[in-house]
């Protein structure tokens, strides 16, 4: 049994009478690419927000590498090695692509009012290291040539790659991707998936919410399906193809689709 990097225990969140996430318990094994699927309104995004600290659960716990992280703010989770991207990209639009990436590392001495004056040398050395690493990461995600472009002026797909680059600066053990392929042209999607698999081979664990079934079936294992806030399927892609409950969840609730 592989080591568990992230787990939830009876995680729940309601909005008024509506139970968006209803007692979800799961375990994400280190080194996997887990696909999180489900029809619209199934609770995927809420579940994602509970994992990333954007929302607080009503009940249940989230554990990251053995540590209870329930209710911690997103900023702490990044420090603890969990990075995330957004369904609709959130670049720092009026900053250069490089600045977007250089922002990410934590513990920069120049991040205080006095740092740039009292720790100049240390700050400069750090800046040089961060810049070099940022350029490396940008080259890795194929955005090296765009380093000096305003981040708000690159394409939607490039923004998704930029978000991945920002997250990579924190050397996270776990990366949560919210619909990485949505609105991205097929070529960039292939680039992105290629990078994800390369990082995965190097040991990074991924959880991906995705609507593109073909992509999920080809690249994710295991696959977890949510419907009406509960887990309705958990297993490999092959099992998912033939699972009656999963088909039912998608086809049985056409109003949500």
């Amino acid at each position: 049994m592989a080591e568990t990097v992230l787990s939830t225990h009876r995680l729940s969140r309601s909005f008024g009478p509506f139970k968006a996430v209803d007692g979800v318990s799961l375990e994400i094994a280190r080194g996997t690419i887990t696909g999180l699927i489900g029809p619209n309104g199934a609770g995927k995004s809420t579940f994602f927000n509970l994992l990333t600290g954007a929302l607080a659960p009503d009940a249940g716990t989230v554990t990251l590498a053995g540590q209870d992280i329930t209710g911690l703010p997103p900023s702490r989770l990044f420090e603890l090695g969990m990075g995330r991207t957004f369904q609709i990209p959130r670049p720092f639009a009026r900053m250069s692509v490089l600045e977007n990436v250089m922002l990410a590392p934590t513990g920069q001495v120049g991040e205080t009012v006095w740092g740039p004056f009292l720790s100049r040398k240390q700050m400069r050395d750090q800046e040089r290291q961060i810049r070099d690493k940022a350029m490396e990461v940008l080259e890795f995600v194929t955005l090296g040539a765009l380093a000096d472009h305003p981040a708000g002026k690159i394409s939607g797909g490039q923004m998704k790659l930029l978000e991945l680059a920002r997250v990579l600066m924190g050397d996270p053990a776990l990366i949560l991707l919210d619909e990485p392929a949505a609105g991205v042209n097929p070529v960039l999607t292939e680039t992105l998936i290629g990078k994800i698999e390369e990082l995965n081979r190097q040991g990074t664990t991924f959880v991906i919410i995705e609507h593109d079934m073909d992509l999920v079936m080809r690249h994710c294992d295991p696959i977890i399906a949510l419907s009406e806030g509960r887990i309705v399927f958990q297993g490999s892609a092959d099992e998912a193809m033939t699972d009656a409950g999963l088909l039912d969840a998608y086809l049985g609730t056409p109003l949500h689709a």
């Binding site: 990333t52 900023s75 957004f86 720092f92 000096d148």
Partner: protein, 316 residues
């Protein structure tokens, strides 16, 4: 001739003091996206603080601590900073329009407090009994004004250099990220509330510094000096000059103060006698038109913010 030079020195001193204030607002709005609608309260806290701490003893109101002038000025800055800290803690969660309304309210409350609390700062009569530093040595004339102008100019340059280095540092990067997208910054391990508070206090201390110099220049401050008018003027300077660009902030201060002074002079000279009563209002209309025009046709200001690119610094 000496009259013209004397006037120019007077103009440049006032414009430089206002430029320092605009730089403070630029840190808050231009760099961090904090809509401070109560600029004048922090400016006023600096002015009142400096004069109360540095003035001679007075009957009937606080003051007369006769502090060594630089200490009094630092005290005025601290007063503005403490006020920003309290206001910041209370309004930290507010964004944009709500923060603007809350801070505007703070400024109105500040003005009313100063107008009514005679025990504090002389009420409507203002703070009296402040002697300008080094007056004995330099007198009250042209020499003093030149010396004061040079001092203000040096302070303006210092503040400019301080801010330039600050916004080019990782701290500046943080401020811009908070301005652009707090949630994304938070997902990358940053704490927006701490950063917002730091920027708000730092900007307000700079506003307090400008206020302290302003009070020193006139050796007097009263509630008439902390009317919302000044908030409006300082905002106009930043918008016209270019939010996010420190040079733009300084340029805007001189430009708008020049336009304000010139329009006042032109109106008083050329407007019909029966309209003279309204020249003050006319100035507001003119400045308002300039702001609206800028926002419509050149919202980035005359000197727009520059993108920080990788070449900068990498060749150090």
């Amino acid at each position: 001739m000496i009259g013209t030079i004397s006037y120019l020195v007077f103009f440049a001193t006032t414009a430089s003091i206002l430029a320092i204030a605009v730089l403070g607002l630029n840190l808050q709005w231009g760099n961090t996206g904090l809509f401070n609608g109560g600029v004048v309260a922090f400016f006023g806290a600096g002015a009142y603080g400096t004069l109360i701490l540095g003035g001679t003893p007075q009957d009937g109101h606080l003051g007369g601590y006769g502090l060594f002038y630089p200490l009094a000025l630092l005290g005025g800055m601290a007063a503005a900073g403490v006020m920003a800290w309290i206001v910041g803690l209370l309004t930290l969660r507010l964004r944009h329009d709500y923060l603007a309304i809350a801070t505007f309210g703070v400024a109105v409350a500040f003005e009313n407090l100063m107008r009514n609390a005679e025990w504090l700062a002389g009420g409507a009569k203002g703070v009296r009994g402040f002697e300008r530093p080094l007056r004995d040595a330099l007198g009250d004339g042209f020499l003093y004004n030149i010396a004061f102008f040079i001092t203000v100019l040096i302070i303006l340059i210092t503040v400019y250099l301080f801010l330039e280095r600050l916004v080019a540092s990782p701290f500046g990067r943080l401020l811009r990220a908070i301005r652009e997208d707090e949630e994304a910054a938070s997902s990358l391990g940053k704490s927006p509330s701490r950063i917002r508070l730091t920027a708000f206090i730092t900007g307000s201390v700079i506003l307090g510094l400008a206020g302290g110099l302003y009070g020193t220049f006139y050796a007097f401050v009263s509630p008439q000096d902390v009317l919302p008018t000044l908030t409006f003027q300082i905002w106009a300077m930043l918008i016209v000059g270019g939010a996010g660009n420190n040079r733009g902030a300084i340029f805007g201060a001189f430009l708008i103060w020049g336009a304000w002074t010139a329009s006042g002079w032109a109106l008083s000279r050329f407007a019909p006698v029966e309209a003279q009563l309204y020249t003050g209002s006319m100035q507001f209309v003119l400045i308002g038109v300039v702001i609206v025009g800028m926002l419509m046709w050149r919202p980035q200001g005359l000197l727009p913010e520059r993108l920080v690119v990788s070449q900068r610094g990498s060749k150090e």
